[in-house]
Symmetry: C2
Subunit: 554 residues, 2 copies
């Protein structure tokens, strides 16, 4: 009772990885969850649609979870909500635009009716159970992003999600420097802050610079202009609209998420498109090329996106023409360079001019670079610091920045997901590990694709599969038919009939040798068939297809 108040922080996602951001704060037995994001699957997860955080820790403490508080509307912060809310139907707090995007997502999942959404504004404070939460405006590549100051008995936790200091933001609303400074003056116990760009020296470009570049490109473009960017980057889209307005062009919007976000943002007042500017994409044929801007998804080269389909000449409404200027206003996310490159090659082939990064000023990151991160640390002067949102290398880089501005080594903690960080007014320490990790979503299945399934998919993709069906008489133990050998993804059968026939004979001979003993021991038949075939095929082809023996008793 006379004990110092204890507060715990448990990251469940977003540390040691990019994406699926989720952090748990515990205060006097109550739990507050920050964000519920997805991660996009890595190459080693073929067929997987999404990765979400393992929330079994929360599900076991269901009745103690007070709310999920969202910082902004990016998928890596809200994308797991439909899955999380099914197991934890708690209220969701967020700013207007964030909730606008959440609504459309919940509607798709038939969860909108039953979810309690609580709108907040930057500058406000809310009492949520035993948590006092302040919402603080920060700049990012989506509007209405907030940092959170969570006042607990132990002290203030300042959670600065994805952010940057944009001194000239499009909507004129600079990151709330005053509030951050005030919190710093009053004393912040723990700062957690975005590490995405912690390896990047200097300052991140202002979003406004991109607008200037757009104006220059618009001024010189002889025909149609196509702009591909992230659908959620509403300030970028506003700048495209402004450039279109200045140069008297109509705007057509293509791509499901772009149409969706432009609709939501316009309705909620975050995007202002002059009356009569927007035209249906089906009607672009009515306008001259120099009267048109087409705003599109696909800046990451996603194979099914509008821009990729245009580049492949497969888009229903838009055919790329010589004289078109295509602006790819985004940097390829690591891993996407090749697909983006392919789209650029195709667009050039069709005669378009393509403007893309690193062409200077055509994209600005949404994340603070090193000088900004140091500025934040100096504004806030926290007692303890935990870098979040980033791979390990970025967290390490962020830690170095903290040390550089004078935070003592022992006050910076490199945490991992699942670490319980216990806070008192004058200490921060890791106490235990709680369950955490990745849950894979594939189609309707959540968590049913695991290790074994992924390993099999990877194996199958390497050299394909050979199925061997052995039919055995259950009374006599004699081989009745076959064996049948069928392959997929191994060799093209018609060209390799001899090889497959040889494989069949190998199996047949081996089985015949066993016949005296009978063929009743399935397990050992299977392993023998597997071994013989694998060895034979490797010798002949130097490939290792999966061999799947099936024994049928008749």
């Amino acid at each position: 009772m006379a004990q110092a108040p204890k507060v715990s922080v448990i990251p469940l996602g977003g540390l040691g990885e990019i994406g699926k951001n989720m952090t748990v704060i515990e205060n006097q037995g109550e739990i507050l969850v920050i964000d519920a994001g997805v991660m996009f699957p890595e190459d080693e997860m073929p067929g997987v649609d999404l990765v979400i955080p393992d929330i079994s820790y929360l599900v076991e403490r269901k009745d103690r979870v007070r709310a999920i508080v969202l910082t902004h509307g990016h998928e890596d912060h809200i994308g797991a909500l439909p899955y999380v809310l099914r197991q934890l139907p708690v209220p969701v707090y967020g700013t207007r635009l964030t909730l606008g995007l959440v609504e459309s997502k919940l509607e798709e999942h038939h969860l909108l009716g039953e979810t309690r959404l609580r709108e907040v504004q930057a500058g406000e404070s809310r009492t949520i159970g035993r948590f006092e939460v302040e919402f603080i405006h920060v700049n990012h590549s989506i509007a209405d992003d907030v940092a959170l100051a969570i006042h607990t008995g132990a002290g203030t936790i300042l959670y600065v999600t994805d952010f940057k200091f944009d001194q000239t933001p499009i909507d004129g609303r600079v990151t709330d420097l005053q509030k951050l400074a005030e919190l710093g003056r009053k004393g912040v116990l723990l700062l957690m802050a975005d590490s995405t760009n912690a390896e990047r020296p200097g300052y991140t470009l202002s979003e406004r610079v991109v607008g200037q570049t757009l104006m220059e490109v618009f001024a010189g473009a002889p025909g149609r202009i196509l702009v591909a960017t992230f659908a959620s980057n509403i300030h970028r889209i506003q700048q495209v609209v402004d450039a279109a307005d200045r140069y008297g062009r109509r705007l057509a919007v293509v791509g499901r998420s772009m149409v969706n976000v432009v609709g939501i943002a316009s309705r909620l007042g975050y995007l202002s498109v002059p009356d009569g500017m927007q035209v249906p994409v089906e009607e672009i044929g009515r306008y001259k090329p120099q009267e048109l801007v087409i705003l599109s998804t696909g800046s990451q080269g996603e194979p099914m996106s509008a821009l990729s389909r245009m580049a492949a000449q497969e888009h229903r409404n838009v055919a790329i023409l010589p004289g078109d200027t295509v602006i790819i206003s985004a940097n390829p996310i690591p891993g996407n360079e090749r697909v983006v490159g392919k789209v650029i090659n195709r667009l050039l082939h069709l005669g378009a001019e393509v403007i893309h990064s690193p062409f200077s000023g055509i994209h600005a990151s949404g994340h603070a670079s090193q000088e900004e991160l140091k500025l934040l640390l100096n504004l806030v002067r926290p007692r303890f610091f935990v870098p979040i949102h980033g791979e390990y290398r970025m967290l390490v880089a962020h830690k170095r920045l903290a040390l550089a501005v004078g935070i003592p080594e022992g006050h910076v903690e490199l945490a991992e997901i699942g670490d319980r960080l216990e806070l008192t007014p004058d200490s921060l320490r890791k106490t235990e590990r709680v369950p955490s990790g990745q849950v894979l979503v594939d189609g309707l299945g959540v968590g049913d694709v695991g290790h074994v399934v992924l390993r099999d998919r990877r194996l199958l993709s390497q050299d394909g599969i050979l199925v061997v069906v052995v039919t055995v008489d259950k009374r006599t133990g004699q081989l009745v038919a076959g064996p049948e050998v069928v392959s997929r993804g191994f060799v093209y059968m018609r060209e390799s009939e001899a090889l497959m026939e040889d494989a069949r004979l190998q199996v047949r001979r081996a089985l015949e040798r066993r016949v005296p003993d009978g063929l009743s021991d399935w397990q050992s038949i299977k392993s023998e068939v597997k071994e013989i075939l694998s060895r034979y095929l490797f010798e002949r082809t130097r490939r290792r297809p999966m061999v799947l023996p099936i024994v049928v008793e008749v």
Copy 2:
């Protein structure tokens, strides 16, 4: 007879792509082949080991091919040799280091004895059939690289493969500016030149800068130093050796290709390692950390490479220790960013310091940037220009540079592989298309993995496979046993027994409905099983595994 002499150039690889470089020159019925490179498979080619050029055009004209001339020893210029030589056993020309690397490759393929290797030196000329070929020294990220001046009846073709202008190369041998200028003065009919860095402004860093950076890092490293770089970058390796020598460290070499190349380059005099410096990696335990440098493969994060295995704590001889400094002296090739990032994260986790690009000066590209490409164009002042070695976007960028220095639009040709470019003393034109493309190598199979197999592998990797075995009595047409349903890579069977049992019942019911008609029409049984199961599984799981029905008659 009084006709103007006609010469053809046919690129068979390396245009519109990175890798598998190969160009055919035809002069009075004789054929000269430049390079025979491989390309590494793209993501859409699972299981494929290598991609080589389609050489059916050459094989059909076998008796007219006089030689293969190699420019340098990189895999994308020599890697396809073993496959090409089996079909075209012609003499191979190359510089000493290039042939050294080729020898070790041919030995592996048991082709060394039967191949006629002809060593040449930069500065020399050789008459090969009706071709007069001059070998011209150029700088690159491997030693002993040569451009080729091929003198034909129509005029001189200058083939400038991968190159840069390094004003301060490690071996003191600058790209042969005088020779290039002399050729330019005498008149070059056609220039073909490397476009890899044509999108990159400015000048490429000198290799010597990397040496200075290495010295700085060596000066400050408290413990062991590990350097990962391309095995073939002998000048880089020399600089590592020099730094080791300066700071009194021993050198251990790990990774098959690194050991191989260090051996070849030392033997041929391209690499000079002080006596007693090199120690076997098994003995590194005898030395203090600050007395050691470990030179390793794995700068691209290749999963089986030495560095990746060290990072995963799976290397037999080297365990990463806190205090180690790991230098990754290479840029990730587009597409490799994520795997390289993963290696860096792991190394940091193990307590190592990691120095990698974009840390400035730790790597220098081997390819000329825009200012160098313009310099080459101005030195040579060719009548016609064809950019080579690069994706379409790079060829386009290179074309723009040519226009910028004043080559007329009609004199620059953006060619594709398979284009026949016909040259006369005053014209260049595309006349026809010859067979060209990709041949996939998978294990021992060359060309047997095609469209269908790759499509199946991709399908298999997405949602796995479901095999359904239906056993039918061949006299009565009745279902005898099963159906058996087995899946791989779809769902984890133990957790989804009910789903699989339901799937089995669906098939059984459908087959029973058909029994009145008998089950003798295999094809239609198969398509029905496929359709029923695919639909059922998609409804239940939103996944589309490959369904493979097998009918066994007993």
